[in-house]
């Protein structure tokens, strides 16, 4: 929740780095693993909660 003005104002202030030309293998891996794992855990938890309701 706590993303507030200070962070809103400053978070991207120092975002740096060169623009990539594409999504690298490491990028694909980190994206799929990160997004996949949080989605899988969320769905699994929801399923467990609903099943035990």
């Amino acid at each position: 929740m706590n993303a507030l003005p200070r962070t809103i104002l400053n978070t991207l202030a120092t975002t740096t780095g060169n623009a990539p030309e594409t999504l690298s293998t490491g990028g694909w891996t980190s994206m799929i693993v990160s997004v996949g794992s949080v989605t899988a855990i969320f769905v699994w938890c929801l399923w467990r909660v609903i099943r035990n309701k």
Partner: protein, 536 residues
């Protein structure tokens, strides 16, 4: 399910869609995610388990606020004062959060009415709208000023609170959360299907945008950077709504044998899903697609209120998506703010035996005073910034650390662990006993000290050539360049804190002799700590 929804709704807020993507892009998505998951395991989940457990335990004894629950956990005269932060933090946070909520509502209305279309200078629009141009500039009854939308946001919040927990808060979360996710998915599909929006800039395509967000960079170098770990831990901690007294309050409405372990993980997972799978795939990639790396990097002002509106104006059917995006932010903010206010209401009701309507009236007065303060002293957004730092960051860290120390040490890990697993639908691996007793308190304290050294004293994180350049949170308060608004705001926060201490002292007198329900007189934690029950 209601408690899970309420906690998840309070956690999912602007940080998921604005702060997380910014940090992940800054530190290289892959590297940041390693630190993020480690922090989630060592800080996020343990503190959340502790809060859920304590809340449910206090609820069995008829307490629903942190002061009451800490009182009943330890049964010492001073114990209730440990919970003062669980009252003051949500109260002050709600005061300035309401202002940010009004910005989201205002931008949603502007997008819907076409007011964002054709705007050439979004930073100027943002400054004029929020009153960042000068104190008092936002306080006008006009739809181009935040003050106007603050009134509407306050009315919506108080109305939902007035309807009660199940018909107001739970209903809002039940409708708001799925709607929020649906809107986010719709925007996500749109962003990922944009291809190369400007044919003259072939480098700004979807794959490059995702690369900007997720490419890990040099892993070994990134992971050796302490700021990365500090940022990830801060994101996990602040994003989950732990250390705010919110989870404790909602868990206190559970029954004695209701699960807390799976519920807690579900709420944490919902929050992570929103920030990683939705926020991480939308915000920064969208900004990169239209503005490139420089556009994203160059913003000293907000991603949400300056960069993205500019992106939406360049996008086909952009105003439709802009409306959707700001409605999404507003929904996230409303579900958070009504949850934030519940701990204060619970305290007023249980400490002074006030009816809900009377409690809401008192709460309304307090929140209106605080949010008016934050809206009036809007020059440079100084009041909001000061409140956010001292309460939304520093105090939250303190309360979170206190909760885990209480769980692992003051109450005792064995009793806490056994209480946590009462009715559990998920068996937490035994290794977490050690984590919750030793690792989490140590990790949290380290992060807190580093946070203070960086944000207050401006340490450069070098041990060999340390350099300290006090940041504005210090210089605003002391020295030649002090800022009267920051000083007044800190004095205001201190006044709120002292008032909370006085309220806890007054309300706590009623608890001293409150008898325990018969079934608890010889059970669990009470057996050791309860001093007022006469021996049987």
């Amino acid at each position: 399910m209601g408690a899970i929804l309420a906690v998840a709704s309070s956690a999912v807020g602007l940080g998921n869609f604005l702060r997380f993507p910014g940090l992940a892009a800054k530190y290289g998505g892959g590297s940041f995610m390693i630190a993020y998951f480690v922090s989630l395991l060592l800080i996020g989940a343990p503190v959340a388990w502790a809060e859920w457990t304590m809340g449910r335990y206090g609820g069995r004894l008829g307490f629903h606020s942190s002061p009451g629950i800490f009182h009943t956990l330890l049964r010492r005269p001073w114990a209730k004062y440990l919970g003062v932060l669980g009252l003051a933090v949500p109260l002050v946070v709600s005061m300035y959060y309401m202002c940010v909520e009004s910005w989201c509502l205002g931008y949603a209305c502007m997008a819907l009415s076409g007011g964002l279309d054709g705007v050439a200078d979004f930073p100027k629009l943002f400054a004029a709208f929020t009153g960042a141009t000068g104190d008092g500039d936002a306080v006008r009854f006009s739809p181009d000023k935040a003050g106007f939308f603050l009134i509407i946001a306050l009315v919506i919040n108080l109305f939902l609170l007035h309807r009660g927990i199940s018909r107001g808060i739970e209903m809002a979360c039940r409708v708001g959360m799925p709607l929020l996710i649906a809107i986010a998915v719709a925007i996500l599909v749109r962003v990922l299907s944009l291809g190369t929006p400007d044919a003259s800039k072939p480098g700004q395509n979807v794959l490059a945008a995702l690369g900007f967000m997720w490419n890990p960079g040099e892993l070994s170098t990134s992971l050796a950077n302490p700021q990365l770990w500090l940022a990830a831990a801060g994101q996990v901690f602040f994003s989950l709504s732990v250390g705010m007294g919110i989870i404790i309050t909602y868990a206190s409405y559970l029954r004695r044998t209701d699960d807390v372990t799976l519920s807690s993980v579900t709420a944490v997972a919902a929050n992570s899903f929103c920030e990683v799978a939705l926020g991480g795939m939308i915000t920064v990639p969208a900004a990169f697609l239209f503005l490139g790396a420089a556009g994203v990097a160059g913003g000293t002002f907000s991603l949400g209120f300056m960069v993205l509106p500019s992106v939406f104006t360049s996008m086909p059917a952009g105003m439709l998506f802009a409306t959707g995006f700001f409605v999404l932010l507003f929904l996230a903010a409303v579900t958070s703010s009504i949850s934030i206010l519940q701990p204060v209401l619970a305290f007023l009701e249980e400490a002074f035996q006030l009816r809900r309507r009377t409690s809401i009236a008192w709460l309304a007065v307090l929140v209106i005073i605080g949010s008016s303060w934050a809206t009036y002293f809007s020059g440079g957004l100084k009041a909001i910034d000061t409140m956010d730092f001292w309460v939304g960051n520093v105090s939250v860290f303190m309360l979170g650390t206190l909760v885990i120390v209480l769980f692992g040490w003051l109450v005792g890990i064995d009793k806490s662990w056994s209480e946590m697993h009462r009715g559990a639908l998920l068996r937490v691996p035994g290794g977490f006993r050690l984590v919750m007793r030793y690792v989490t308190p140590l990790y949290l304290t380290t992060i807190f000290v580093l946070f203070l050294l960086r944000e207050m004293l401006g340490w450069n994180f070098s041990l060999t050539t340390p350099r300290f350049e006090p940041k504005h949170y210090m210089t605003d308060l002391f020295g030649e360049n002090s800022n009267p608004v920051a000083q007044l705001t800190v004095a205001f926060i201190a006044f709120v804190l002292l008032s909370c201490i006085a309220l806890v002292a007054a309300g706590g007198r009623r608890w001293r002799n409150k008898p325990l329900p018969p079934h608890l007189r010889h059970s669990g934690l009470q057996k050791k700590h309860h001093r007022t029950t006469p021996p049987q």
